[in-house]
Amino acid sequence: MVNPIYIIAILLGLGFLLPSLNKTGIKVTGTIFFLGILAVSVISFQWLAAFAFDGQELKMIFTAGFEPPMSINLQMGLNEAVIISLINFGALLGAIYSFRYFAENGVQALVVFLLFILGMNGLVLTRDIFNIFVFLEITSIATYILIGMDLRLKSLSAGFKYMIAGGIATVFLLLGIILIYSKTGTLNLDGMIAAVSIAGSSQILFVGVFILIFSVLIELKVFPANGWALDVYEGSDTGISAMISATSATALLFVLYKVLPLASMDLTQIIVLIGVLTFVVSNLFAIKQKSTNRLLGYSSIGQIGLLIFVIASKDVLGANFEKIFFGLLISHFLAKAGLFWLSGIVKAEKIKGWVKIKKNPILIFAFGTFIFALMGFPPFPSLAAKWSLVMILAENGSFLWISLILIASLLEVLYLLRWFGYIIKLEDSEEKVEKSNHQLVPIYVVTVLLYVAGFYLTRSFDAGLTINFIPLALVGILFLIDFLPAYVKNTLVLAAISYYGYNLVPELDTLKMIFALIFLVGGILTFIPGYSVKGKRIGFYPVAVMMYVGLVGLIEATTFFEFFFAWELMTVGSYFLILRGKRSMPHALSYILFSAGGAYLILFGFALSGAETGSVLLTSLSDVHIYATVVFILLALGFMTKTASVGLHIWLPGAHAEAESDVSPMVSAVLLKAGVFGLIILFIAMRNNDVSNLFYILGWVGAITALLGNIIASFQEDAKKLLAYSSIAQLGYILFALALMTNVGWLGAIWYSINHFLYKALLFLAVGAIVMKLKTHNMYEMGGLIKKMPMSFISVMIGIIALSGVPPLSGFGGKWLLYNAFILKGWYFQGAIIAFSGVVAFLYLWKLIYSIFLGPIKDKHRKMTEVSVWYLIPQYLIIGILMFIAMKPRMILEKVGISLKEYLPEDTVTWNGNAASTFADGKLFGVWDPFYIMIIVMVLFGTLLAFLLVASRKATKVKMFNVVYSAERPESPQTTHFSYNMFSHYRKAMGFLALPLVSNFWDFITDLFHSTSDFFRKFYNGSAQSYIVHIISFVVFFYFILNGGIF
């Protein structure tokens, strides 16, 4: 094992050697420079390997042959080894990235960079407090020079502010050291810690420890003493910013970790507070930020704040501390370095300028990797770390911290994904990205490492051990083979889904099987249209499959973490899918915000449940009693963001309407059922936990959602938006039916879930294909397409019959079950609303079929032909299934009813042949025989058709500009445009129900955050003297708080 003292010796030695070799040229000095960094990296990795695999024990290295306090000692343990490996490897990548920048500034730059690495290694290894001061100064001075080296005005003024702040921090550090020394008589950290614990509460010692730790906090750029740091991130060369954000912040965090045992309980609490505050405030200020590097600076400071919080909570976190800390640190380290490096390549001052990389799928992939790693989405290490952090905080009752951390995380999602949306969706710019390989290599390396770290670190948590990474590997493979033509990938995906479903479905219980079939059959049906796409369809397949992997993961999940992991995976996949639509930028953002917010509510709910029961199993929700109401509300709200219940629905219309034609059914017919599935799991688990009032409220929410959804749908001109609002209403029915908590009610909910999946997929496929072909969403620009697209007409016809719930198709069964259920339950008012909204649905369904297919054809559509056969195949498959289950509902419903009896014994349905019947107080209540209904309706329909064929022989043909009602036999043509604003008369009566009150509310909330952010960030006014005031008042303020005994 190489003595770590050689790390310092090598770096220092080369620092002296290189200037003397200056005349040999940059090639020689550069080679030696890299060899040096490589050597120290190898030494640190060697130690890391020894600790990780060979059971190496903690090692003390004494310099000068004496033991402390006579000499300075270094300590090498597992933590030190991880940290210096990170730092040295990061520095190696940073050196590769910045080599051109260094070379322009001569051999001095190389020397300074070596000293920079030396300082950081020393900070991590030394156990002598004064040595910390020396290494801190070495690191700082090297950083100042690296910043100011390029002599730009920005970097010089940023560097000057940094020096002032650093100078003040140094003063505090020295004062702290001498005060502690005067009381403990040693400079050795371990000696000090021992002496402090004996010495107890001496005022001088207290002051000493206080300012020592606060000087470290200032160097760590905590709020509010961090205005200078933002200027540094913005003003410096990006390669240097990357190093400051990643490597030197890491070293300083470790210094905080080392000196923290000196702190009293009160002081530790203050640090916890400062950490959270920094995380929250930085993310809040960041949402108004437009300058790239400053935004990254805010994000960086926020992440470091969270890490400070984790370090100060070390005792609370216990055995999981290291995993959480390293999970968050490594995600931040790799992602932030990568982002700064990427920023250096893109060279766009404003985040909107990043649209330059639109044409570079690999750079977009790297960027996506970085921001999703920062936000803590799967499969990155930050997800498991944040998860564990929240779980443990909940056990300790730190609900305030959890709320603040989750709110700040949501703000982070807002600004990072808005940025991502700009890249994908803004108008392409003419500028090209200048790339050079030596700058790209480090970016690629950290991208890959994030996935590797994600895999290993996630599995290092107990919760993460059971995560199934195999389906994720398929997503990875799809990213790698994205250069293949679309039909190859489509076939591969269809085969994979079929194979997986074939193995999975037979193993499941009835309820899960239904949802697995919805997800998997839905997958197959919605991937078939993919064959109509020519070319590669870059980026579609990996993300679509990611969504389906998440959906199936929900079914398979048994623990909270598995469920959450799958939930987030599904969310990310569907976000990318939605973002693919042409005008979907704002809608995708609002979708991911609601989803992430919902996910955080779910996380909080799970954490509370785990805190009370100590179990990680989903079924343990039934044991929650103290927190039952809160857990139920949190989880229900979380799932209702996906089912788009009223109040949480505003993301849906845009997201579904603007998505690509074959994506709309994926995110509508299939994805929404994930929320239903979540609700079902929740309701089953918590049915006996004294939350019946909440079920009652949810019943009302469902009913109101159904009504409003249908009314607003009737006023739409956009065909896909109409279908989207209709989905909201249908999910309202489902929520209402679930909230009834009776057997027949749930049968209705399941039946609606299956049917909504089928007919909404059918309608979105049919309408989507037409919209794509006609290049307009507006129904008043369509019309008369029945002869051009007869196959689509039949699809839509069947779809609306099924949806409307008139006999004979399966929608009728849903209504029958639902009406029986609410009457038996006695929810008459809500039931009346449900029934009324069913009537309203006829309005928009009529509008849909009339405006698109009937009436006169528009002139430009005269040569229109039928839509692509790849869209028709799934439609007719669905029609087949719809017809079949309409005749034989017993095949599904009887089994479901029996499996539900275990949980919901009330109001069951009895089957006799094809007929279903319900009973109230032992007497027969309702009967439904789908087979006879089908026959009766067919006979009636046949008779009417025959009559009409005979009676309409005299009807005239409709000509251009002649508008008629479809069932009318016009004697003289009318020339008004009927299709536009079709239900204006109803609008007068019910329009007030369609006012955008909910959107206004959420707009108000976002405005509030934005204006708060904009107002308070002015606090960083750019003046070095203001920053001095911030720093000094920060220290003084907390000194008085501590001394005042508030804590």
């Binding site: 004064f130 001061f133 020396v134 100064e137 700082s140 001075i141 100042y144 020079i145 100011g148 002599l151 005005l153 920005k154 010089l156 003024s157 940023a158 560097g159 000057f160 020096m163 002032i164 650093g166 100078g167 003040i168 140094t170 003063v171 020295l174 004062l175 050291i177 001498i178 005060l179 020394y181 005067s182 400079l187 933002l230 200027d231 913005e234 003003g235 930020q289 400053r294 960030r1017 002015k1018 960083y1020 006014n1021 750019g1022 003046s1023 070095a1024 003297q1025 001095i1028 005031v1029 000094i1032």
Partner: protein, 120 residues
């Protein structure tokens, strides 16, 4: 009042004067001088903490008998620290002054208020 206390008071007074200078002066060179005064104050405070009344400098020469050295000299550690702090302080101050020179070359101004382009 013994000499230790007097030095302490002077040291802390210098620290306050230095901070006052850093906060009130607009000229960047004066701000740096303010920081330098703060540093001197800190160094005085540090030395005073190691001082023991009636003892001599921690230099082992003919004036100090080797066997009784630990009873005759003051605590050498703070003095060593101060030496290091002075060296580092000088280096940082010199570097700051070079930054000011470069800044002056860019904008022909020494006022701190002219360098507020980076903000918010």
């Amino acid at each position: 009042m013994n000499i230790t206390n007097i030095v302490h008071i002077i040291g802390f007074a210098l620290i306050l004067i230095g901070f006052w200078g850093m906060l009130t002066q607009k000229n960047m060179i004066k701000i740096i001088l303010g920081l330098a005064i703060v540093e001197v104050g800190v160094q005085l405070v540090m030395v005073a903490f190691g001082f023991i009344e009636g003892r001599t400098a921690p230099i082992l020469d003919s004036a100090v008998e080797l066997s009784k050295a630990s009873e005759l000299i003051v605590d050498p550690v703070p003095q060593a620290l101060v030496l290091t702090a002075i060296v580092i302080g000088v280096a940082v101050n010199a570097l700051m002054l070079t930054f000011v020179i470069r800044l002056y070359q860019k904008k022909r101004s020494l006022s701190i208020n002219d360098y507020k382009d980076l903000k918010w």
